[in-house]
Amino acid sequence: MKTLVWVEHDNASVKDATLAAVTAASKLGEVHLLVAGSGCAAAASAAAQIAGVGKVHVADDAAFANALPENVAPLIVELMSHHDAFIAPATSNGKNIAPRVAALLDVMQISDILSVESEDTFTRPTYAGNAIATVKSKDAKKVITVRGTAFEKADATGGSGTVEAVSSTGDKGLSSFIGSEIAKMERPELTSAKIIVSGGRALKDGDTFKANIFPLADKLGAAVGASRAAVDAGYVPNDYQVGQTGKIVAPEVYVAIGISGAIQHLAGMKDSKTIIAINKDEDAPIFQVADIGLVGDLFKIVPELTEKL
């Protein structure tokens, strides 16, 4: 099988989520990549270095600058005439683009796969990860998104893909990009961090959240996450949310502070290697999944912990 993988990039470098998608694709056979962007030559040559990749298709056009699905999906559909499967990482771009491609190809997408069982059979989580379904696709071509935490990352170097320019399918004139508010990352990115410190509703407000969670995270070199309750209340921006409907993470160590452990939150972090929970309620559900629990008031515990590390 020949698989086309959507490369998540910022025109200069390739995002980590792509590497897990490449590993999933390699289980199906030959791996080709698509780098669609504007001024994306550097990203294309970085992509060609990924271990195991064959051709790297590069579509460099202003129409692809912000990954607008109205413009990108037709390009992918054209390339799919000579590929058997399309794979995207389950990032916000991947989730935006892949179903549009699937519908144009008249294919039922398989979302967020956890494993490749064979050329047409995959496992995927449903019901917030409470039920793992094994599904077999009857479609001739496959369209798949990949859960980043479920696959090893392919090596970012060591490959020797051949870069090949493809012509643009142009701007469809349906949508335009107005702007973005992307927070400057002072800490590791959530989905690739080794350690995550997350705070919940118990943190009271934005200032209290920052005063307690940030110093501990910085001591541990950790990324910062949050529960939906903390995001809804405005303590931290939306991109901090971990859970069924936020980011799915699986770090070496996940520290949940003042988070009760609702199933929607657990869905996003229960595959972490070690879970540490700090909560004043000894019956909080988070303790049912925690490897190490400490019962008590976080406003005493967290400053003391930060101090002693």
């Binding site: 916000s92 989730k95 892949a98 144009l104 039920a131 949508s175 541990l220 809804d232 991109d239 590390l309």
Partner: protein
């Protein structure tokens, strides 16, 4: 301008799903079912646009079993004007999108607002597929929606933060959690909803083939995590972290 809101009947978000012993799926017998939470947000957004004068009519559509009428009545009680039930069980997102595309051919709505994902199958596909089939733009994971003349500006929750796109109408929008807080239906409105129009259709009425493309071979529970230990104080926690090599 008319707005269509597809709503799905799903397991209530407070219920912990249990996998059936025979591995064929999740046990939904005698389980509380509700409107998909993202769809409540979609209905709310449509109603607000109508209240602001940006829309004239809100039509809710569900593809599901006869019981999905309850879900449609809930949406009508919130304030939607009329409902369409397309009776069919277990339709995949591609089939749902094809049916919704047919509904749109008849209704010619300016905006179709869906949930970003249904909390049962967690597919996160239907809106994007519908947009593709209609050849229209999509604003997914919306946290702000503003209609301006013949376009809509949508602020989206993306991996790094927020981004804003402008789409020409008709357009498809899918809702994220922070778009709004849905209202509760009042008792008088629940009574009123009983007499609002609800049309009943079948996939055959629309001439759409909804035969599944995916076959579920089996459904299992994920490996259960065992609860670990509790430590007595911060010193013990620090010792553990050091032993794990997390702290120096």
């Amino acid at each position: 301008m008319k707005i269509i809101v597809p709503v799905k009947r799903v397991i209530d978000y407070n219920v912990k799903p249990r996998v059936k012993a025979d591995g064929t799926g999740v046990d939904l017998a005698n389980v509380k079912m509700s409107m998909n939470p993202f769809d409540e947000i979609a209905v709310e957004e449509a109603l607000r646009l109508k209240e602001k004068g940006a829309a004239t009519e809100v039509v809710v559509v569900s593809i599901g079993p006869a019981k999905a009428q309850e879900t449609l009545r809930t949406a009508l009680a919130m304030g939607a004007d009329r409902a369409i039930l397309i009776e069919a069980e277990d339709v995949e997102p591609l089939g749902v999108a094809k049916l919704l595309a047919k509904v749109q051919e008849e209704e010619l709505a300016g905006l179709i607002i869906l949930g970003k994902q249904a909390i049962d199958n967690d597919c996160n596909q239907t809106g994007q597929m519908l947009a593709a089939l209609l050849g229209r733009p999509q604003g997914t994971f919306a946290s702000k929606v503003e209609v301006e003349g013949d376009s809509v500006s949508v602020t989206r929750e993306v991996d790094g933060g927020l981004e804003t796109v402008k789409l020409t109408l008709p357009a498809i929008v899918t809702t994220d959690l922070r778009l709004n807080e849905p209202r509760y239906a009042s008792l008088p409105n629940i009574m009123k909803a009983k007499s609002k129009p609800l049309a009943q259709k079948t996939p055959a009425d629309y001439g759409v083939d909804i035969s599944p493309r995916l076959e579920t071979l089996k459904v299992v529970e994920p490996p259960v995590r065992q609860a670990g230990i509790k430590v007595a104080d911060v010193d013990e926690l620090v010792a553990k972290l050091k032993a794990m090599g997390v702290a120096a």
